[in-house]
């Protein structure tokens, strides 16, 4: 007769490392730690997304769980980026009276920003010694992740690396964006929000929403318009570069 209770650490780990439960729990726990650290220290460097990526990444490297197994669960969390993008209409609605009056500066700023971002991404990567694939991977990185990934696929870059670069651009904006804007003497909350959304998409917008209502609304607007402008401009700019 088989014993009632046994000890099966290997089978248990085999099951757990492939289970969606691990990826979801790990991601939420790491994010909770990130929020706690951010609140506790008030440091802009400790953005919850940055803390969580380091913690989860470190866990996967230490345990050898492959990234695609992690995504089996974490993919459910990434899915909500779509509805969250839709939700950005809310701050836009709240500040609509300001948005409507600023239509010309907004459109000019976003188009100029997207052109400069794409051109500089390709040229600087090339001058610093990056091959064509890397240049194409870098080109769409200012647009928010679902868009930059789709564009990277379309033009022949490495979509997963584009996703990583996009997130890094976002984290950079959340960590030092407002500080850089202070140094540049840009104080108008509308200009600050548009700049953050144009360079650092949703992650920059999450910082802008915490800074100021108007800044957050313009950042959300900028993120949406930059996604549109980048989709249209990347293929055009690449004709010339």
């Amino acid at each position: 007769m088989a014993p009632l209770v046994g000890w099966h650490p290997h089978e248990t780990w085999d099951w757990l490392s492939r289970s969606p439960l691990l990826g979801i729990t790990l991601t939420l726990a790491a994010y909770a730690v990130g929020r706690w650290a951010h609140r506790r220290t008030g440091s802009p460097v400790l953005q919850p997304v940055l803390v969580a990526v380091v913690l989860v990444g470190g866990f996967l490297l230490a345990t050898g769980v492959p990234y695609r197994d992690y995504l089996a669960g974490a993919g459910f969390i990434g899915f909500w980026l779509g509805p969250a993008t839709v939700a950005l209409a809310l701050p836009l609605h709240h500040e609509w009276h300001l948005v409507r009056r600023a239509a010309v500066p907004v459109l000019t700023g976003v188009v100029a920003g997207a052109l400069v971002s794409i051109t500089a991404a390709v040229l600087v990567t090339r001058i610093a010694g990056g091959g064509r694939t890397l240049q194409l991977t870098m080109a769409p990185k200012a647009a928010t992740t679902p868009v930059s990934i789709a564009l990277s696929t379309q033009i022949g870059g490495l979509p997963a690396l584009t996703a990583v670069l996009t997130i890094l651009a976002g984290i950079t904006g959340a960590v030092i964006g407002p500080w850089v804007l202070d140094r540049l003497g840009i104080r108008d909350p509308r200009a600050r929000g548009l700049a953050l959304g144009a360079a650092s998409h949703g992650i920059g917008t999450s910082r802008a929403l915490h800074e100021d209502r108007t800044e957050g609304a313009f950042s959300a607007l900028s993120m949406g318009l930059t996604a549109l402008a980048t989709s249209i401009l990347v293929p055009v700019v690449l004709l010339f570069l």
């Binding site: 991601t27 790491a30 994010y31 997304v49 969580a52 990526v53 989860v56 990444g57 490297l61 990234y67 969390i77 509805p83 969250a84 993008t85 839709v86 939700a87 209409a89 809310l90 836009l92 609605h93 609509w96 010309v104 500066p105 907004v106 000019t108 700023g109 976003v110 100029a112 920003g113 400069v116 991404a121 600087v124 610093a128 010694g129 890397l134 870098m138 200012a142 679902p146 868009v147 997963a160 690396l161 997130i167 890094l168 904006g173 959340a174 850089v180 804007l181 840009i186 108008d188 200009a191 600050r192 700049a195 144009a198 360079a199 650092s200 992650i203 999450s206 949406g224 996604a227 989709s231």
Partner: protein, 120 residues
């Protein structure tokens, strides 16, 4: 049942994204579905002018509060590319941060100067 408004609000967001994704595919547009969904939701908000206690406000507010969480899974992909990132560290770092800085500065400066002109 106090969480029902949040549930309803999230349902509206999903419906707007669904509408966006379907429209984009039906018309063969080169625009991301969620961005069209955002426009759809903005129209809904402009027409209905919901109160702060409404599901149309409380559902989206929950997602926006935790926006950074949603980027974590894609960000963790960095570990898959550690090797490439190390081999091409210079072009990747220079390309990423210089173009980030230029995009931020140009957008901010253009909007700030145009907005100043508009006020005069």
């Amino acid at each position: 049942m106090s969480d029902l408004p949040v549930l309803k609000g999230v349902l509206v967001l999903l419906a707007c994204q669904l509408a966006g994704e379907v429209v984009v595919r039906l018309l063969g547009l080169d625009v991301p579905g969620p961005v069209v969904g955002m426009v759809v939701f903005l129209v809904v908000l402009r027409l209905s002018r919901p109160r702060p206690s409404s599901s149309l406000v409380r559902g989206p507010a929950v997602l926006l509060d935790h926006l950074q969480l949603l980027f974590v899974p894609a960000g963790v992909g960095v570990i898959v590319y550690l090797h490439e990132l190390r081999a091409d560290a210079l072009p990747l770092a220079a390309g990423l941060w210089l173009s980030w800085l230029l995009g931020l500065a140009v957008t901010g400066a253009v909007v700030a100067s145009l907005a100043r002109l508009g006020r005069k």
